[in-house]
Symmetry: C2
Subunit: 431 residues, 2 copies
């Protein structure tokens, strides 16, 4: 399958951006190298990008990526090599890792993600076993996967300040679970290294903290390569003390929506973009595309139907939404046939190891493509994001993917800074 | 083209070895991770291996690898990612690198190697230019390569304690020149980082030092996975004060040959190998397969023809041979059709990034395949060395390549230890 076609009517500015990125490549890589000397890259990360033709920006940064199965199998060695580098930093003696996944064991796609992640780690020479938080799993349980593979989930046990499996005392606990429903007691106060740290879970993480860090990173980057930071950074603001069901805090949301729409309108005018601005209203904590809506006018927020209110009121596993983020919507103008597509970039440590497109036939260019129950078609990137070709035209897939890899790494760097800050906050509370 | 066929008549023991390596994979990777905490991996390295069916061993470790063009182009991203890790360690600010190649600019294969290396570094975001030691190049000179690529060689200039090009003051000097003819004055006492260090060149390097370090590494590794170290380590010894033209020192060589043949015979008896043992006599310093001969009896050394003496007396660029190493010969039982093949593994930093086979139609199973004027056919590995498959049979290419990658990394680790020792020797001399 080909790389998604980018709507050419608006391809001028993004090609300029791509060209800027390509031309500045040695400076960008050197700058990133320097940044990684002072900031520790998250263990792994996926970043959803949107490419509107005039703007290329991250819209979501996932610290517990769940789509390793969607990557191009040909680039498995890249994942393994990056995993070797990643595991080095955790603990040199790291030989055994306990992987703790999400609890939705009936999602075959998620199980395939686990199998892919397991294989990457195994090939990097790590002994991995999978321990589940599900209380109904009381003995090792083998699950069949399409293609004849099996995945074994085992019940985790707490022993003192360690989590273990039967005959398996791991030195590292790797979370592939975003802790949306809180941090389970069994994972608290462990003496083992837990990666990502517990405060990277949605119990404490806030999207607005991430995008505040991204503000900072994207400004530095923009001044490095001499561009308007808006080209890579969506406007956003947040509101607290919301209760959608009880219509509390709606004014803040509606006003924030209008403010951001106003800011976007000014930028659209500056760049001659003839499109309707829109914003995305989403839960500040939480994931899985729940509690997300597209809004084109603040008044819409005040006239939500009961169904819409209920939909916005809770995220995954019934967690109540009290804080929301309003973020500039970035159109996606990448298409595969008539379907809209959104690139997702995968990183292990500070290395871009691949990516794929979420291709969705039933969604619009201004809608979230990672929604509950959605059935996107993953389209693995054919190329890596590592081989830009200055001789080729900007817009060719190698160059587009390199630019994607750069912007995704800016989000990764923002995540690193965000985690430093949340760690500092926790230390301040404990002190 | 398929992976070379391994002669099956003798494939039993090597499959046992491969199986041991596969089974011990997490222990091996953990042990290597630990070793790289205390030993700095060379910047890059290639290792020639021989696989006799009953034995798999390195026979040559090159710290200035010259065949990057022979690697599978599909694995270019692996090279780029490893280069990013390698360059990080040299100096974070490393943005500009001066690459100093060998002076044989008429060898189109070597120029293609330079172009490949240049491309890898460029994609890792490094600004690279090529400075030549050739006095006849007094201005930037563009050389045409097959496929329409160009390579520009520029004259290097000394400015104080730095080497520079016109408008280019690099922070790192990368040697792809093995200094067989001595260390040029222009490269001495530089304040810039020189990698590999000057003492890695053949002016000071000795094969016997490398294999002494490999003795140590292979013994540790053998006890880790519970095998006879001989299965991965060729016997060797060295003789000094040789002058082949004047027939000086021949007794030492002949006696050493007989001793090593005796040791091999005992091992062959132990393992039931029905083959004639042979040794390789080679210059202790130097490369390019010059000054190398296959010997099956010490008496042969005493009755060399004048032509043979002359051939042994000098290596590359006329350097006189005064020290030789006698090394157990390892048969190669890998074949492509009727041609013999020898695997060469490439590493950047501590990562295996690919490999190829030297395929030679006119050489025997007991001959050196990297000889002057030889025209081997490079056959790029179809797979990386990173994805062993425990479900598959030992001997399948993924598993064979993983074993090759492990043995090559043992040689890499030996090179790291060898360089530490030579640095310590230099410091002792300077003190």
């Amino acid at each position: 399958m080909p790389t998604p076609h980018l709507d050419t009517a608006l391809s001028g500015p993004i090609l300029d951006l791509e060209r800027c990125i390509l031309n500045a490549m040695p400076s960008i890589e050197q700058w990133l190298r320097n940044e990684w000397q002072t900031h520790a890259a998250p263990f792994y990360c996926s970043v959803d990008l949107r490419n509107s033709g005039f703007k290329l920006a991250p819209v979501d940064t996932n610290l517990f990526p769940g789509g390793f199965n969607n990557l191009n199998r040909e680039f498995m060695p890249l994942c393994v090599q990056a995993m070797m580098a990643a595991i080095d930093k955790i603990c040199t003696g790291a030989r055994s890792v306990l992987l703790i996944p999400e609890s939705h064991t009936r999602n075959i796609f998620y199980l395939q993600n686990l199998a892919a992640l397991h294989a990457i780690m195994r090939h990097a020479g790590i002994h991995v076993r999978i321990g589940t938080l599900l209380p109904e799993i009381t003995a090792p349980t083998a699950l069949d996967l399409p293609g004849g593979n099996k995945l074994t989930l085992e019940p985790i046990q707490r022993k003192g300040n360690r989590v273990v499996l039967e005959d398996f005392d791991p030195c590292v606990v790797l979370l592939n679970n975003d802790l949306s429903t809180g941090t389970p007691a069994v994972l608290q106060n462990l003496e083992q290294t837990v990666i990502p740290p517990l405060h990277a879970g949605w119990t404490s993480r806030r999207k607005s903290h991430h995008f505040t860090a991204y503000d900072n990173v994207s400004q530095q980057f923009a001044s490095l390569i001499g561009i308007d930071p808006w080209l890579i950074n969506p406007y956003f603001a947040s509101c607290g003390k919301i209760n959608f069901r009880e219509k509390k805090g709606e004014d803040c949301v509606a006003n924030t929506v209008d403010e951001i729409l106003h800011q976007i309108r000014e930028k659209y005018a500056e760049y001659g973009v003839r499109k309707d601005p829109f914003v995305i209203v989403k839960a500040d904590a939480g994931t899985y595309g729940m509690g997300i809506m597209t809004v084109k006018d603040g008044a819409q927020v005040r006239t939500l139907s009961r169904k819409q209110r209920n939909k916005m009121a809770v995220v995954k596993e019934g967690l109540e939404v009290t804080d929301i983020m309003v973020q500039e919507g970035v159109y996606t103008f990448e298409n595969v046939d008539d379907a809209v597509a959104e690139p997702v970039i995968y990183m292990i440590d500070r290395y871009v190891v691949g990516g794929f497109y979420r291709v969705h036939t039933e969604r619009g260019v201004d809608e979230n493509l990672n929604a509950p129950g959605m059935h996107f078609v993953p389209l693995a990137f054919e190329d890596t994001c590592l081989l830009p070709d200055r001789e080729a035209q900007p817009g060719c897939s190698a160059n587009r993917f390199y630019a994607y890899g750069v912007i995704a790494r800016l989000a990764l760097l923002a995540a690193a800074q965000e985690l430093e800050k949340s760690e500092a906050r926790i230390e301040a509370i404990m002190a």
